[in-house]
Symmetry: C2
Subunit: 589 residues, 2 copies
């Protein structure tokens, strides 16, 4: 270690071994208590806390000391008087008897306490992020993130991967979100795009013969901020040549295990559980199931072939399905039923059927009267339902039914912390999905290889891709695929996606050309560092593990970014504001 | 290591231990020779080369194989026939007797040979960078860069540093170059700036109590491309709290030593040599002297007090100086003299005096006749000049004279490779410098602390800053400083720079506010990874160590970035093209 400069000890490292010695610490005043004319100061630095005892009569500076003053204090280490030891603190057996007290920097009155227990509005926390990051939980999150990326790099280094930096001023690539743009000055009027991922560059690296590439890469997506998105985020990006899916899985499992080991000291069981996309949807109603709890979706269709209940009947007759989950013991009321029905409708259901099993085995339900005893018995049996269990049933086309139940399952069953970890691979995604306008679009991205090229052409809606996701506790960590390495297949995929050959040539000609020079089979993966660290640190938002995040409207409350820019600077770039933007600026200034 | 998937061995790892065994390799056809109806193929992958012997009669696929085809080949490892071993190749004692030959991907005819000896136009190399990177030298550069950053991280991890990611969508900061801008969609018409460095965020991290921060950070400067600049570059950015300059130097010396050790297996002598800025200018005429050779600047003023030579006389009379360098044995001619004189004028000199020492001790020089015997003897003595030595003399005000000689010194003395390494600290930079318009501007950046705050106010032109540069072989690797941690000092510096308090408040109010909450004394450093790896890999341009660099006009010849963007996409961002840019676009399309 580089030697300490302004101090002899980290505050948290002062111990009984130092008793009788003169030490110097530097840090912040975490707490101050005055007792019998003597000041007791908790001095905090990155290493921890130590108690300083100072007599204001001898050290006038002590009178000024308020919370979060930055100070340097020298003095003799002494044993704390008997009965005043603090066994919860590593330094709790000693204190420093102040001989010299120096204020390095005063602090104004604080907008909030530097304390994990303080509940502060997030906007205020972000505006004073430099104070927020002094809180133990946030400091631990910063540290955890640093250790996580160090573990990732260590593991991949051992596996023979090269870390390669790809450019961030690039061309637009088709990744599904809007690109963020950067105007060029030397070619004014033209724009670079910031990468949504290094996808095409990592494929170029495979063509370059790198064979095992990784990068912890900053990526950019201009999406409408949903719950927990940022304009910029960080992902581990990884690719290998002469690889199959098993090699990708094995590598990612090693990487994720090393991070869990580093942050939690826990071993992860590998290989991870695997589900095909279809099985995940069928059993859990979502492509990123949380595997920490059961509450699986049960198919009731077969037991309701003769049902008199119109909703079930018409669903079954129109090739739909009736499915349910056993939500177990729930605090049940009419109001709760209405609430969940509203949620089900929000998820696409026309309605929701609920049933509660009475102690005598009968059902309490608005539709109980439409069900035969046989049907009731069958439902109870196949759903493994006992007295008090709440059963929720949806009747609809397959996808809607399972998605509705999957949403309710998460609502009703999901643990509210991440103490337990359940990793999962979801495989065999459909190659294409229907866009909102009915056109066909790629589920993953257009460089993902199809399992069967002929099926891709003949029945694109049924075609399966070599794509896979990694899921942790119901959070999608990331996704990957085996890529297309044959330029002809790549051209066919563009064509199926409705990109005519002229457009393909104009936008991706350079890439199709690159594929022509002996491209090795290759595949890879990318996962979000923010999300992984969020789960492992038991946080509910990625903003808690990003040092300086932006709000949902893309604003940094600390620096005020983004801002207006002088017209002269813009015109040099070949751009100017639209009339609407100019009006906004005038109103703003 | 993750197991091999499509092969059993890396090509470079097949050895005599494998003789008699069946192996599978996958890679590229580096070379093909046909001899007696048999094909000899050099198969290359990331691990090296191995020779394959294949009989086209048995393996029809062999007939098609051309250079850079991607193939998979299985066969038995055999000893090469006596007399055909290649002792220069690690696998040179064996070959693979092909049993199966599979073409994974064919390759078109190559635009250039995959060979270090091929001299190709850089534009063609960049257009097919994926082939260029297959060349051994470029592959080695990629690997070196990865190992360099791994060594940096390992060292800083041992020193207790946290790697923290700071945002890249930020506000403009005053770093001397133009910012690159990113239009915001959610606040259309407003812009983020891409960071020229993480300067203010790393200072915020110090205020946050991180104490030891580093980041390998992508930075952006929209400068007119000089010789060897890129719009985006990567720097090691580092900062410590409760630090002084010595701690920064010790840390950076450890980091740089670890990289040299990693890439060259050499030990670096520490501590590095140090020169103040004034001494560097005085002795070497530049603030980043190449210390691998002498040719120091000598002050001749004292010996020419009575000179009759008008140019010297008037320089001395107007408080200027006469200085020279002994350029040693040079191939000297009238044409060479004219050439260097032109260079000297380009560097600001009014002219250049040259002298060659004759074998008899007299001087051959246009001005020899103006010099007395005494003056000639003094000049020869103080410049340690012997027969055949070329002496170059400039008479001017101090700064011009030393800068001119410093430029000529580099031209005449600099080694043309980096086999030897000479590290250097340059310290005590002036706090301010005169801008081209005569106003005062910061030499470093306005967050650098002055050595003496009173001097800063009274005689700003003489004030020294706590800034320092690291130099390697005449290349400025990077710079750092002890920062201002007192908000009042920061306000005074803004004021001296002519930033009125209202502007300071508007642009940096959030930062001045942050300084008010117990800011620890802190300082740090940043150096360019591109330049460091360039020198250590003995390359002449940073483009050789950047996987996908841009040309001097900011264009990527491979992907064509930057490009025109659809008007609709722009208007969503609140911007449109200027009429000039629109005209360019129309002409272009």
């Amino acid at each position: 270690m580089v030697q300490q400069v302004m101090r002899t000890h980290g505050a948290g490292s002062v111990s009984v071994d130092d008793v009788g010695n003169e030490v110097t610490v530097a840090g912040w005043v975490q707490k101050r208590r005055d007792h019998g004319g003597i000041a007791f100061l908790d001095i905090r630095d990155a290493s921890g806390l130590v108690q300083v005892v100072a007599d204001p009569a001898q050290h006038p500076a002590v009178d000024d000391l308020r919370m979060e003053f930055c100070v340097r204090i020298s003095g003799e280490v002494t044993n704390r008087p008997e009965g005043t030891e603090n066994t919860e603190l590593p330094t709790g057996l000693v204190e420093i008897d102040a001989r010299e007290v120096e204020v390095l920097s005063p602090a104004k009155a604080l907008p909030f306490m530097i304390d994990d227990r303080t509940d502060v509005d997030e906007l205020i926390r972000l505006r004073h992020r430099y104070l927020d990051l002094r809180r133990p939980r946030m400091a631990a999150n910063l540290k955890a993130r640093s250790r996580a990326t160090a573990a990732i790099r260590r593991t991949l280094d051992q596996e023979g991967f090269l870390e390669v930096e790809t450019p961030t001023l690039i061309n637009s690539t088709p990744e599904g979100a809007r690109d963020m743009l950067v105007p060029s000055r030397l070619r004014s009027g033209e724009f670079y795009a910031l990468p949504q991922s290094p996808q095409l560059f990592k494929q170029l690296l495979m063509i370059s013969g790198v064979e095992r590439y990784f990068q912890i890469a900053r990526c950019y997506r201009d999406e409408d901020f949903r719950a927990d998105r940022q304009l910029e985020f960080t992902q581990l990006d990884l690719e290998g040549a002469f690889w199959d899916r098993e090699a990708v899985f094995e590598t990612i499992e090693k990487v994720l295990s090393s991070v869990v080991e580093e942050l939690r000291g826990e071993r992860v069981e590998t290989p991870f559980v695997r589900l095909t996309w279809h099985e995940a949807m069928n059993r859990f109603g979502i492509d990123k199931p949380d595997m920490r709890f059961g509450m699986e979706i049960v198919d009731l269709t077969d037991y309701l072939g003769d049902t008199e209940f119109g909703v079930f009947k018409s669903a079954i007759e129109s090739a739909g399905t009736v499915r349910g989950i056993n939500a177990g013991q729930q605090d049940w009321s009419r109001a709760r039923a209405d609430e969940l029905t509203e949620q089900a409708k929000g998820l696409g259901a026309k309605g929701l059927v609920w049933m509660v099993v009475n102690d005598d085995g009968t059902l309490r339900s608005p539709i109980a009267k439409f069900l035969s005893d046989n049907e009731i018995e069958s439902i109870k049996k196949v759903m493994d339902a006992g007295p008090g269990d709440v059963l929720l049933v949806a009747a609809d086309r397959w996808k809607t039914a399972v998605e509705v139940l999957g949403g309710l399952r998460n609502e009703l069953g999901r643990p509210d912390n991440h103490d337990e970890l359940a990793f999962l691979w979801v495989t065999d995604f459909p190659l294409f999905e229907e866009a909102e306008d009915g056109s066909i679009t790629f589920s993953h991205h257009p460089f993902t290889s199809p399992v069967d090229i002929d099926e891709m052409r003949v029945r694109p809606e049924a075609a399966i891709s070599n794509a896979y996701d990694a899921v942790l506790n119901g959070v999608e960590l990331g996704s990957g695929s085996i890529r297309i390495h044959d330029p002809d297949v790549q051209r066919q995929v563009f064509e199926i996606l409705g990109i005519d050959s002229e457009t393909a040539e104009r936008r991706f000609g350079w890439f199709l050309e690159a594929l022509e020079y002996g491209t090795p089979p290759h595949g890879g993966f990318a996962f979000g560092i923010d999300r992984l660290v969020m789960v492992l640190q038991n946080e509910a938002s990625i903003r808690e593990v990003i040092p300086f995040p932006k709000t949902q409207s893309g604003v940094d409350p600390l620096t005020g970014a983004p801002t207006w820019v002088e017209a002269g600077q813009l015109s040099e770039l070949g751009v100017g504001l639209t009339p609407e933007a100019k009006a906004r600026q005038t109103a703003d200034e």
